[in-house]
C-alpha cells in the first residue's frame, strides 16, 4: 500500500480549486447580508418617511408641540410630545441605572472576591436576558401599585414606573461594561496607590474611576441608547397620552409606544397615520444611531490611556 499514490488517484484538482474559489465569495455574500439589512432599514425609513412629509410639512413635524393623529377633524403631527415622553422615561432610567450600575461595578471589580464575582455576574446577565414584555408586565402590575402607595396622585399610567423598570433593564449593561473597563485598569496603578496607604475606596474613586472613565461613559451612552429604543415596558406602563410638559406622574407616550399603538390598532395601509410610524421610527433611529456613534467615539478616542 502506498498512500502517496492513493492520494494521487483521489486528486480532484478541478473540484478542489472550484470550491476554494467559490467559498470566500459565498461567505462574503453572507457577510453582506448585515450591510443589506442596514440599507433595508435606511431605505424603508427614508422612503416611507418621505411619503409622510408629502402630507405633513417637515417643520410642523419637528417643531410641533401637539401630537393628535387620531383627531378626526384636525389631526396634528408635532413630534415633540413623543420625544419629551421618551426623554422623561430615559432620564428617570438613567437616574436609577447609573448610580446603581456604577456601585455594582465598583463592588464587583474592587471589593468582591472571585467567588462572589463568579456568582453575581451571571445573575446580572440573567437580568439582562429577561424579555422586556416581562419587565413591562412587572412595571404595570407591581411597580406602579407599589409607587402609588408612596406617591399620592400617581396615575396608573405614568413616566416614573416605566422609567424605573427601564433603569433596571439597562442596569446590567452599565454594570457589566463599566466593570470590564475598571477591571482592565492595570494592577500596577492600584498597587501604586495602595502602597501609599490609600484605602480601597480612595483607590476606586480617585484612581480606577478616572482611569476607566471613557469605558464607563461609553457604557452609560449605550444604556441611554437602549432606554430610548425600549418599547414594551413603556407601551404597557407608560400610557398613550403624548403631552408636551414636564409632568411625570401622569400618562405619557414615547415614540416607541406610539408605533405600538398604531400597529395594534387598525389604521389602514396608506393613511397618514400609517406613514407617521415610519417618521417616528426614523426619528427614533437617528436618536439611537447618534448615541451608538457617540459611544463608539468615546471608547475609541480615549482607549490608549495605559
Amino acid at each position: 500500500m502506498n498512500v502517496q499514490s492513493m492520494i494521487e488517484q483521489h486528486k480532484n484538482k478541478g473540484m478542489k480549486k472550484f470550491v476554494e474559489k467559490l467559498m470566500p465569495k459565498l461567505l462574503f455574500i453572507t457577510a453582506l447580508v448585515s450591510v443589506l439589512a442596514t440599507i433595508g432599514i435606511v431605505f424603508t425609513l427614508i422612503f416611507e418617511t418621505f411619503e409622510f412629509f408629502r402630507r405633513v410639512p417637515f417643520f410642523d413635524y419637528i417643531l410641533g408641540t401637539e401630537w393628535l393623529p387620531f383627531s378626526g377633524t384636525s389631526p396634528s403631527y408635532g413630534v415633540l410630545p413623543l420625544i419629551i415622553g421618551t426623554l422623561k422615561v430615559t432620564g428617570i432610567a438613567i437616574v436609577v441605572a447609573v448610580p446603581l450600575g456604577l456601585a455594582a461595578a465598583i463592588y464587583l471589580s474592587e471589593y468582591a472576591s472571585d467567588n462572589v464575582r463568579r456568582v453575581v455576574k451571571p445573575i446580572l446577565e440573567v437580568l439582562a436576558g429577561v424579555p422586556t414584555i416581562v419587565y413591562g408586565f412587572f412595571a404595570l402590575t407591581f411597580v406602579t401599585p407599589l409607587l402609588q402607595e408612596v406617591i399620592p396622585g400617581l396615575k396608573i399610567f405614568n413616566a416614573i414606573s416605566p422609567g424605573i423598570v427601564v433603569g433596571i433593564m439597562i442596569l446590567p449593561t452599565i454594570a457589566s461594561l463599566s466593570e470590564d473597563a475598571m477591571s482592565s485598569v492595570p494592577r500596577s496603578m492600584r498597587e501604586g496607590a495602595l502602597a501609599l496607604g490609600s484605602t480601597k475606596l480612595e483607590v476606586a474613586l480617585k484612581v480606577v474611576l478616572p482611569a476607566a472613565l471613557s469605558g464607563i461613559l461609553a457604557s452609560v451612552v449605550l444604556g441611554i441608547s437602549r432606554a430610548i429604543g425600549e418599547t414594551m415596558i413603556v407601551s404597557l406602563a407608560g400610557g398613550s397620552t403624548p403631552k408636551f410638559d414636564g409632568e411625570i406622574t401622569d400618562s405619557i407616550q414615547t415614540m416607541t409606544a406610539y408605533i405600538v399603538q398604531v400597529s395594534t390598532g387598525d389604521a389602514g395601509y396608506g393613511t397618514t397615520i400609517y406613514y407617521s410610524i415610519y417618521a417616528v421610527g426614523f426619528t427614533l433611529f437617528i436618536f439611537t444611531l447618534l448615541m451608538n456613534l457617540l459611544a463608539g467615539y468615546i471608547s475609541k478616542k480615549f482607549r490608549e490611556e495605559y
Binding site: M1, V3, Q4, M6, I7, H10, K11, N12
Partner: protein, 276 residues
C-alpha cells in the same frame, strides 16, 4: 536505432556530469539558491545557498532570531501565512522550484510533512487526528484508514501506548505523547521529507529522548530537516548541520566537522557556547 532528441541527450550528459562530480554523495532533495526573504522591511534571510541531501538528518542551528525557523517554514511555504512576506531566489525540491507561484502549496505540503514546536493535535480523537491527512486527500475507505492509522502510530513508536484508546480525545495525552501523535499524523500521508521545528523544545527530557530515537529510526525512510536550539541534540541525531546567524548560512558541513573542527570562528564561538 532512433536518435534521441538533443535536449534529452544533453540532460543525460549533465546527469552523468553530476555523478562524476559527486560520486559518493546521496541525491539532493532540496537545493536552495540565492534565497532572500523579507518580512515587510526586515531582511530575514540573506542569500541562502544550501544543498540538502536525501535520507539524511539535517540539523539547522543558530541563536534565536537567526532565521532558522523562517528558513524551515519556507521549505513548505508555510511562511506565506505571514501576510507581508516577500521572497526572491529559488528552492528546488526534486528539481522543481517550489517558490514558483504555479507550484501548488497543497501539493508541496502533501509531500513535505511538518512537526511543530508545540504539540498541536486537533481537538479530536487520536484516530481522527491520524486519519485527518488521508481523509482530506480523499481516502475514505475505513479499512484502508484503519491500516494507515495503525502503521503511522507504529511508525511514530506510540502504537502500544494508545492502541486501546484510539477514539479518545488526543488532548488527554501527555505532551510527549501528543508530539509523537503529531509525528504519526505527519507520517500518515507518507511524505517524502519531514520538517521539524524545534520538536522537543516543549518536552521533558524523557519525551525528548523518545522523539530523538524516533528521528533516528525515521531516517531510513524519510529525509528529515530539524531546527533545534539544542546543540547537543543536533550533535546526537544529525548527519549534516547548518549554522545560521543573522539570516545567513555561516557554515554547512558534516555534523562531526561542525562540532569538532568548524571552519568559521563564529561557528566555533556558538557551538562552544560563547554566545547565543
Amino acid at each position: 536505432m532512433v536518435k534521441k532528441p538533443i535536449v534529452e541527450q544533453a540532460m543525460q550528459e549533465k546527469k552523468k556530469d553530476l555523478k562524476v562530480i559527486t560520486p559518493s554523495e546521496k541525491a539532493s532533495i532540496y537545493k536552495t539558491e540565492n534565497l532572500n526573504l523579507w518580512y515587510g522591511d526586515k531582511h530575514a534571510l540573506k542569500d541562502i545557498q544550501l544543498d540538502i541531501k536525501q535520507n539524511e538528518v539535517t540539523a539547522i542551528i543558530g541563536p534565536s532570531g537567526c532565521g532558522k525557523s523562517t528558513y524551515l517554514k519556507t521549505l513548505n511555504r508555510m511562511v506565506e501565512l505571514v501576510p507581508s512576506v516577500r521572497t526572491t531566489g529559488e528552492i528546488h525540491y526534486r528539481d522543481r522550484n517550489i517558490l514558483d507561484k504555479s507550484y501548488q502549496v497543497e501539493e508541496l505540503r502533501t509531500k513535505v510533512g511538518m512537526v511543530f514546536q508545540k504539540p498541536n493535535p486537533f481537538p479530536k480523537s487520536i484516530y481522527d487526528n491520524i486519519a485527518y491527512g488521508p481523509r482530506i486527500h480523499g481516502i475514505k475507505n475505513r479499512k484502508i484508514l484503519d491500516e494507515i492509522v495503525e502503521r503511522s502510530l507504529r511508525g511514530a513508536a506510540i502504537w502500544d501506548e494508545v492502541k486501546d484508546r484510539l477514539h479518545e480525545n488526543a488532548y488527554g495525552l501527555s505532551g510527549g505523547q501528543q508530539q509523537r501523535i503529531c509525528i504519526a499524523r505527519c507520517l500518515a500521508i507518507e511524505p517524502d521529507v519531514i520538517l521539524m521545528d524545534e520538536p522537543t523544545s516543549a518536552l521533558d527530557p524523557i519525551s525528548t529522548l523518545k522523539v530523538e530515537e524516533l528521528v533516528q529510526e525515521l531516517k531510513k525512510d524519510y529525509s528529515i530537516i530539524i531546527v533545534t536550539h539544542n546543540m547537543q541534540q543536533a550533535a546526537r541525531i544529525s548527519d549534516k548541520t547548518a549554522f545560521f546567524l543573522n539570516g545567513e548560512v555561516i557554515e554547512y558541513d558534516e555534523t562531526d566537522k561542525i562540532f569538532s573542527n568548524p571552519a568559521d570562528q563564529r561557528t566555533e564561538d556558538y557551538v562552544s557556547g560563547r554566545f547565543g
